[in-house]
């Protein structure tokens, strides 16, 4: 167990090291930070001074060590564009993104797994066929088109729900939540559905495929030959074996939700980190890009670590060895 976890931790650290190196190199290869700080018409002396202040003339390794020290203490520097500390900006917008991802993940997992199991068991019913065909359309719909369509129907046409923004938030001091008011829920509903739809269909199709794969195995045939009830075969034998591969994919899917939050937040002007990131890319605001990269990588590493531990819990072959 410990070796397994240690191995995974080592791998996670490696990922973080690589990502931080990439985000560090962003500062050096993308744009000129001095230009970004002082504008085009600064004098030569001013530039040299700022270069020295920023330590840009130090050896690259010194700069990297300094950068690593800074990010470990949560300091990503000032945004070129907004001229505010990046960590402050991210913390401010983090609740919006995390709540959006959280609500979407619940929708995607609950609906996706349920429908996946249903279509896996009732393979031949017409309901399954309809669900399956619809899901293929779901996979083919780009997130931004879903968002536009939902806005057009529910906000522009029916005027039931707001088309953009995050309203009805309650400030808990350390966290601004929109999950405590009706207004907040009304605002989060459309973006959350938009974000979840693609992952939902992926999970649905995966659970179904795994379910069918398991159904073909010898131990299911043997369970049948022992006369076990259909229920026991479906849930006790098939579903649990389906879960093992599904857990991995669910980890990836939550990662996907975080990634696609960039698009959803843009469509709905949802004030989260994704929207901030895309604006930063537009303006080549390197500190924010770098910080977002490190932050997202950290989230993914954490998710993957949790998935590995879950794996461990579910599968005795990994837990007990042979």
């Amino acid at each position: 167990m410990t070796t397994f976890i240690l191995k995974r931790l080592a791998q996670s650290l490696l990922v973080m090291a690589v990502v931080s190196a990439i985000s560090f190199s962003l500062f050096n290869f993308v744009g000129d930070p001095v230009n970004n700080m002082v504008g085009q018409d600064a004098t030569r002396e001013q530039r040299i001074e700022i270069r020295q202040q920023l330590g840009l003339d130090d050896p690259i390794l010194t700069q990297y060590t300094r950068f690593m020290g800074n990010i470990l203490s949560g300091d990503f520097g000032l945004s070129y564009r907004i001229k505010r500390p990046v960590d402050e900006l991210i913390l401010e917008r983090l609740p919006a993104t995390l709540e959006l991802v959280f609500v979407s993940a619940i929708i995607a997992l609950a609906v996706g797994i349920t429908l996946g199991v249903y279509t896996g068991i009732r393979r031949k019913s017409w309901v399954s066929r309809v669900i399956l065909s619809t899901s293929l359309i779901g996979v083919s719909l780009p997130t931004f088109i879903i968002g536009i369509a939902l806005i057009y129907v529910f906000a522009v046409h029916l005027r039931w729900l707001p088309s953009s923004g995050r309203s009805g938030t309650v400030d808990l001091g350390w966290w601004k939540t929109s999950l405590l008011t009706v207004d907040g829920w009304r605002a989060i509903l459309l973006p959350a559905i938009t974000l979840s739809l693609f992952q939902l269909t992926l999970i649905l199709r995966l659970v179904r495929a795994e379910m069918m794969e398991v159904m073909r195995t010898d131990f299911i045939k043997f369970a049948r030959a022992r006369g076990l009830a259909e229920r026991a075969i479906n849930f006790r034998h098939a579903l649990r074996n389906t879960l093992v591969p599904v857990i991995t994919i669910i980890g990836l899917n939550i990662g996907g939700l975080i990634a696609f939050s960039v698009i959803t937040e843009t469509v709905f002007q949802w004030p989260g980190t994704g929207l901030m990131f895309i604006q930063a890319v537009d303006f080549v605001d390197v500190p924010i890009m770098a910080a977002y990269l490190v932050f997202v990588a950290l989230l993914f590493v954490l998710i993957n670590l949790i998935v590995d531990i879950l794996y461990f819990v579910v599968d005795p072959r990994i837990r007990l060895g042979s």
């Binding site: 990922v15 993308v30 536009i148 990634a259």
Partner: protein
């Protein structure tokens, strides 16, 4: 399985007898998907011939004709079947030209990812050892980061590195490279998996005993046997690449509005959606979804047909 006669089958007989070909012609979804995909690709390839207008020719555009609804809606004009956009360009023509760009970018990106991924995957799987460990570690790390995010990043860096005046001209190549670079780990994984299976088969060992060098075994024996799963990934990958390009363009990070792709058209149209000019968004979106859906349907069928476990 032997054929009834000793006469070897001709290519055509072999083709007809092939289980996959048979299954294709007996699955209506696959046939429809293939026909739709093919028609859309052809329509876009021959856009210069088929399109009623050339949306890049200023002489054919008149702002007076801007924002006209489709021909069957009140106020529409018959020569503009699907209406016009805000600049007075014929929607049908821009969609044909835009689809052309989307398909080109999608295909090129998938090809780039495939060539890179399959080469690395086959080498990784067959050579093994340190080479394998390094290549697959990189792929693993990259796979933990969702593709679209990486594409945005690579694309963003690519644009930032280019001088301002070249950005628009090179945008299409930057997008292709960005999507292709995010695609390769999928291909590498699949190709490596297939390679590991094949490399353990006895025909590869027989080739080694004959004395064939590694590179020849990889090219002549292993590579052709990894093609099936790679083809499935490539088809699904094409759908994803088209979506990725559209997404980048929609976010304003991809193809510039001067030579719009479907994604760019939707982005532009989205600004007019609230003012009721729905057709500027609607038709490009429908074209995009139908194209992606057809490709996905084809990929879905392929995955089932080429999966040996299902037969």
């Amino acid at each position: 399985m032997s054929l009834p006669t000793d006469r070897p089958a001709t290519r055509w007989e072999r083709f007809k007898d092939n289980d996959i070909v048979w299954s294709f012609f007996h699955s209506p979804g696959a046939v429809i998907a293939a026909v739709v995909t093919l028609l859309m690709i052809l329509a876009c390839v021959f856009a210069p011939v088929l399109a009623p207008f050339d949306p890049f020719d200023p002489a054919q555009i008149s702002l007076w004709d801007g924002k006209l609804p489709p021909a069957w809606v009140e106020g529409g004009q018959p020569q503009y079947l699907l209406g016009t956009d805000n600049q007075g360009r014929d929607m049908l023509s821009t969609i044909l030209y835009g689809g052309r760009l989307s398909i080109i970018v999608g295909l090129a990106a998938v090809c780039l990812g495939m060539v890179l991924g399959v080469t690395l995957g086959v080498v990784s799987g067959y050579v093994g050892g340190m080479t394998d460990a390094i290549i697959m570690r990189i792929a693993d790390v990259q796979l933990t980061i969702p593709g679209i995010l990486l594409a945005i990043l690579i694309n963003g860096i690519g644009r930032a590195v280019l001088p301002l005046e070249l950005r628009d001209d090179f945008a299409i190549y930057v997008v292709i490279v960005a999507i292709g670079l995010t695609d390769w780990p999928q291909f590498a994984r699949v190709a490596r998996g297939a390679t590991l299976v094949e490399a353990n088969k006895e025909y590869v060992q027989a080739a080694r005993i004959i004395g064939l060098p590694r590179w020849l075994i990889m090219i002549r024996h292993i590579f052709p046997n990894t093609l099936r799963p790679v083809l499935v990934i490539a088809t699904i990958g094409l759908a994803l690449a088209i979506i990725s390009e559209a997404t980048l363009s929609f976010l304003g990070q991809g193809i510039p509005p001067t030579t719009p792709s479907l994604g760019t058209l939707i982005r532009v149209g989205n600004e007019y959606l609230f003012s009721g000019l729905w057709w500027i968004t609607f038709f490009p979106a429908i074209a995009l979804v139908v194209l992606v859906f057809a490709v996905n349907l084809l990929g879905d069928w392929m995955r089932d047909a080429l999966n040996p476990k299902l037969r």
